[in-house]
């Protein structure tokens, strides 16, 4: 029993090792997208880094290995070679895929809560804090009554004994 377990463990580790070391058959890189003007190349890299891949939404268009991302990189490259500006490329993609291609959502009525919601929360928290502090100031803590004072002395005396 133990033997077979060890064997399957070895098999699993070997497989995992093989999978980890195996390079993808052909990885997409940004190397193929170059412009005569190095500034444009940089602009291309910045732009694709700011656009979101729709297939793997936690990846940028620059970093994604999805086939669709490669198609879109080619499209962005084509548009930029045609001399389109950054904003024109963004508009082209938003027109087809929606605001989801942007990491930063545009400011419009449906996104107001998204943009300003956090400030509302901070404001509300500040209001609560201010109110609590005001109250504290208005009615300072009551001093101990005679009975409480006596009980406190009693308790303190008791602990004192234990330490002696």
């Amino acid at each position: 029993m133990i033997r077979t377990q060890t064997q399957s463990l070895v098999a699993a580790l070997t497989l995992a090792g093989a999978l980890l070391t195996a390079a993808p058959a052909h990885a997409f890189t940004l190397e193929e997208f170059t412009f005569e003007d190095p500034a444009r190349t940089q602009e291309f890299r910045d732009l694709t880094g700011e656009l979101r891949c729709l297939v793997c939404q936690n990846e940028s268009l620059a970093g994604s290995q999805a086939g669709v991302a490669q198609d879109l990189r080619k499209e962005v490259y084509r548009l930029m070679q045609e001399g389109k500006s950054r904003q024109e490329v963004i508009d082209f993609l938003v027109e087809r895929y929606g605001d989801f291609v942007l990491y930063e959502p545009p400011l419009k009525p449906s996104t107001l809560v998204l943009w300003f919601g956090p400030f509302l929360f901070v404001g509300f928290g500040a209001y609560l804090l201010a109110r609590t502090l005001q109250r504290k100031k208005a009615e300072p803590e009551q001093d101990l009554s005679e009975a409480e004072r006596a009980r406190l002395q009693q308790l303190l005396a008791k602990t004192g004994d234990q330490h002696d």
């Binding site: 729709l54 939404q57 669709v68 938003v94 087809r96 895929y97």
Partner: protein, 181 residues
Amino acid sequence: MNTSAKRALIPLGIFLALAALLFYGLQLDPRKIPSPLVDKSAPEFSLPDLKDPNQTLTRDILIGQVSLVNVWASWCPSCRQEHAELMRIAREHGVRVIGFNWKDTRPEALAMLQRYGDPYALTLYDPDNKAGIDWGVYGAPETFIVDAEGIIRHKRVGPIDAQVWAEEIQPIVARYQGGKP
């Protein structure tokens, strides 16, 4: 109930509200991205017919009747999953289904239609995602409902099954079919 007991319930209330909100969030599928093309004119295209390479199909084929434009590929398992349902829809409901073969190869696409049947009145062949980008396609299967005037009325991301057809697709198809004399 006195005031302090009521106050003690406030955190519980906040917790429940937050739990409800987050639970709602769990039901949402982040892969379902609403298309900005809905209620807009279907994008122009010029693509070869899958079955007849010499034939060029354009946006004009969408005019005249309500169509389902179904984006599919032979490499896509969910497309195979919805294939039988598309066959049924085309056969039993008389809705015109247009295939949009996407990022595929002609032999493999044709082999799939031969093997599982062909629900498509016409099939566009777009191996290089030429028209796919204009249609905002980012995966397969996707299905657009296009009305008789060539306006996109709905986009479904993911496979169609009997329930999706009955609850999501058919009501919209019926609405736009009913609109024409």
